[in-house]
């Protein structure tokens, strides 16, 4: 296991370097001058030139890249052009928010998606399957922003049960923090639940057809033991893959949901940064989420090995 992890980590290094080059060059290809945005309405040429010099935007792109990556290696991701806060501090501020949202959304998604998938596979072709499919499809097709605004109008404005938006740090008041994030997590989670339900269903269907399930049933095992212990456990490998990928995606920021519920997470940060051409922030975030994605993948591979003993020897 350790050797496997070590190998995967080594492979991750060139991937991260590639990501960094990619982000850096793509970003410079964007039209629009960061200094112009930075200058705001007053566009004094002397100030523009000064800012270009200060942020080294006049250097050749290769030099800019090595300056950035060199600093990044020492833990300095630069400062935000817009607010002058260090990018690393910004990431440190936003990451816990996004992780909390992602974890809560994922818990909701798993709690809905996996049982629904198991049930609809088990009851394939019945009305239960049909209902589960319709619910899943609507979960997938109802746009997040619409559901979000409708929920705000109903739950917050009409009923006054939950705050309409905002964020409360978990450390300040865990219960209130969860309460404030319930609606956005639900909006995100229902969308993901649909994806999970579809994957669980198809994985379960193929497992339920296999010989060992028939054998298990022939042995006279209780149906729920067959379903949970024999079938679901084997169907879990693809489900874990999807879940980790979804989690990775959530870490990159649930842009729309964060926008609607005004959650100061990665999504909002990166969107604002792109529109303001706040290069250092975009680069820092993409690099971080890239690393997070790779890490999640390694974690998924490790999870396979835990779940499926046959993969441990590979």
């Amino acid at each position: 296991m350790l050797a496997f992890l070590g190998r995967r980590l080594l492979i991750a290094i060139p991937t991260i370097i590639l990501i960094s080059i990619f982000v850096f060059t793509l970003q410079k290809l964007l039209p629009g001058d960061p200094v112009l945005v930075l200058a705001g309405e007053e566009r004094d040429p002397a100030v523009l030139e000064y800012l270009r010099e200060q942020y080294r935007l006049n250097d050749p792109i290769i030099v800019q890249y090595f300056t950035w990556i060199g600093n990044a290696l020492t833990g300095d991701l630069g400062i935000s052009l817009r607010t002058q806060e260090p990018v690393l501090a910004l990431i440190g501020q936003k990451l816990p928010v996004t992780i909390q949202l992602a974890v809560m959304a994922l818990i909701i998604a798993i709690a809905i998606g996996v049982p629904a998938g198991v049930l609809s596979a088990y009851k394939k072709g019945t009305w239960i399957d049909w209902v589960a499919n319709v619910v899943a499809l609507s979960g997938l097709s109802v746009p997040n922003f619409w559901l979000g605004i409708m929920l705000i109008l109903l739950i917050s404005v009409k009923l006054g049960w939950l705050p309409a938006s905002g964020y409360r740090p978990f450390a300040d008041d865990p219960l209130d923090s969860i309460r404030v994030m319930l609606m956005p997590a639900f909006v995100l989670g229902t969308g993901l639940a649909a994806t999970l339900m579809r994957h669980t269903r198809s994985a379960m269907l193929s497992v339920l057809k296999s010989d060992y399930i028939r054998t298990a049933r022939a042995k006279g095992l209780a149906e729920h033991v067959v379903l949970i212990k024999h079938a679901l456990r084997n169907a879990l490998v693809p489900i874990v893959t999807v879940t980790t990928l979804l989690f990775g995606e959530l870490l990159a920021g649930a842009v729309l949901t964060e926008q609607i519920f005004n959650i100061p997470g990665f999504g909002k940060l990166v969107v604002d940064a792109v529109f303001n051409r706040d290069y250092a922030v975009v680069q820092g975030i993409v690099l971080c989420t890239g690393i997070a994605f790779i890490f999640m993948n390694i974690l998924a591979d490790a999870a396979y090995r835990v779940l499926n003993p046959r993969m441990r020897d590979e």
């Binding site: 039209p31 629009g32 001058d33 309405e41 007053e42 004094d44 040429p45 100030v47 501020q93 905002g166």
Partner: protein
Amino acid sequence: MALKKNLALALAFGLAATAVQAQDLRIGLQDDADVLDPDQARTFVGRIVFESLCDKLVDITPDLEIIPQLATGWEFSEDGLTLTMTLRDDVVFHDGTPFNAEAAVYNLDRSRNLPESRRASEVSSISGVEVVDATTIRITLAAPDATLLAQLSDRAGMMISPAAAETMGLDFGLTPVCSGPYSFVERIQQDRIVLERFEGHWDAANYHFDTVTFLPIPDTTVRLANLRAGDLDMLERLAATDLTSASADASLETAQATSLGYQAMTINVGNGERSGGPLGQDARVRQALSLSIDRSVIAQVVFEGAVAPGNQPWPPTSPWYNADFPIQERDVEAARALLAEAGYPDGVDITVQVANNPVQQQVMQVIQAMAGEAGIRISLEAKEFATLLSDQTAGAYEASQVGWSGRVDPDGNLHQFVTTDGGINDAGYSNAEVDAFLNGARVSNDIDARRAAYNGASAILMEDLPLVYLYHPVWIWAMETGIDGFVPYPDGMIRLAGLTLTE
């Protein structure tokens, strides 16, 4: 007797209600502010935060008159080259540093000389500032500058603690220290900015909230939903289309003020190759375009009437408006005749770039339809704002739909856009007469002479039309019922003096 008792009870309750009134005022902003250093800041919402955080040398009235704030009085010398200001003697910064002539000189020098200063161009007429005595400063000007006091009523006139500025350097904006009615507590980017009442403020009795929290919520629907849900006490920039429903809501109140700014189409008349088309080369084509537009239709269709139609850099209600050139009626026949006279009897094709937000695109679609009837076929190019801006600066456009947030002094709405060396002359317009008028208006302190100069310039500009003005946005604030004493200002700021909230 019973009546008296009841009255006394009611009074007691009333007092109790005032005593325990909402300690925190939560204000929803459309954007997140940028760096909170008055010399480096550039966003509109940043100015709203500064309004509570930092005092300025002078302030404005809703009618745009300059009134004292930290400066108690001022006087220009006969030749207009010296401005002497007397200052309050009871002001301290949030860190305890006293405010005095020395601090004021430090601040004006910082605005002028800090390399990162965005204020340098606003105070470029100043050639020197010196301390006369503890409460008097003397500002020397390189040339008379009629706009200076207006500049000092905004960020250029904001006073920050010299001690804090020295220690923090360029990071001052992370924990700003000023002398305003509220002091800085914390900021979480894109989430909140929290200020608390500064007991040492010279006018502290006039500020009634213990804390003020600014919450950036960019989506207008969500911002309004938060107000309705009671998570906000007030918000700025209610969408015009939400005005009817907000006014009908008994738990909400709204306030409005016509802004100092405008929305217009900037025409490329001399900024590189793209100015070579009929629109850029022939003023008659631009006049035809302007004539083809019914500005009140834009106001009704897109904004449900909540903007002021306009045709000059300042609104028709402004004392600077040139009454000889009222908004023209739409006249399709006259527009066609002008096109034919210019040699385009079959009409012209033009491309207009517009920011990719729904409201500005709707504005342009309405114009597209109206101009089309006059034979001006518009194709729209929707661009993300940063791209639009750099294309406009570089001259990579034929016409561009953009706006300006507006300035207190008329100079700020016109000079830099149409004078030959103007900093934002993206149209590439150049006319020696206009230059002379506008440069003259800048150096005169005589209102009538200034008005004559602006009228002279607008007479030419209405012919040449390097900018086709469309309308003046209206600031709309919405707040919960119970907020009293809110005064709408045309600069769109939120001034908290005298504001109370009874729940």
